[in-house]
């Protein structure tokens, strides 16, 4: 990682993974919220494995960043917030597949989707946008000047 190419290559893969996630999970969320109503929810969901691949790329490269400079990440409030958004997105996803996914796939009309499904879509989209924003903030909140959100 500390070679001249290490960081930029890993960062490029990290952002590409995020784009794969937004382009599949993000579009599925937008579709549930009523954007592009002509797109079949069931068929659009078949692109989600690409998003999962993107997420795995993010976890791999993210672990590389973290293990190379743990002090710069673990004590960084932007990273802490990013992890928080990832945690909420993860819980939201588990809750979605446990309670709502079958109903969503059955219903092709977003107007008839339950408010619960739309709320979950909004939470998911906001969380991933939060992840991107906090990811960009990391470089501005480097320790030792900042080390947590609650001790400024």
């Amino acid at each position: 990682m500390n070679s001249p190419w290490g960081w930029p290559v890993a960062e490029s893969i990290h952002f590409l993974g995020l784009c794969m996630l937004i382009g599949t999970v993000g579009l599925f969320d937008l579709r549930m919220l009523g954007v592009a109503k002509q797109v079949s929810l069931t068929e659009l969901h078949k692109l989600v494995p690409i998003g999962v691949l993107g997420y795995l790329l993010n976890v791999t490269t993210g672990t590389m960043f973290l293990s190379t400079a743990p002090d710069q990440y673990l004590y960084n409030p932007a990273v802490q917030s990013k992890f928080f958004f990832m945690l909420i997105a993860g819980i939201n996803m588990l809750f979605f597949y446990a309670t709502t996914a079958t109903e969503v796939k059955r219903s092709e009309d977003s107007a008839s989707l339950a408010t619960r499904a739309k709320t979950m879509a909004a939470i998911s989209l906001l969380c991933w946008c939060g992840v991107i924003i906090c990811g960009r903030l990391i470089t501005y909140y480097r320790p030792p000047y900042y080390w947590c959100l609650w001790c400024q």
Partner: protein, 148 residues
Amino acid sequence: MRESGAAFFTSLTLHSLAMAFVVGINLAIAFRLVGFAPKLPIAPLTRFYPLHWYCAVLILVSGLALLLAYPAKALTNEVFYLKLTALSIGLLISKRFQYTLSNLPEDEPVQNDHKQLAYLSLVVWATTICAGRFLAYTHNVLLASRFY
């Protein structure tokens, strides 16, 4: 721009967010054209293009703001021109897809030229992202004041 931390950071964040949506939408359509989710009708996917173009405008506006903050840093770096070229080609492909795919019948198989253009789209968007990230690491000049 450079002296206001909030203005610079806001531009940088909006640039990343808009880029994620533009590249994301293009990747989804390109992956569909090269054979993923073969039962997903292609024409309705073009309904995501209006959002794509709003985000593309945001990319250009925030990109211009970032360029105003550090003009010498970008303009003296070849990688910046690579990003600009890849981005322009990617947006031209998007425009072509929007026009040619929006009326495509549901049962029509993907044409070969669309498939080839989709592969090219994947390459140019990956190049745009990589060039964007490498910009931060490859500049030789930060401020024009270095020259006088």
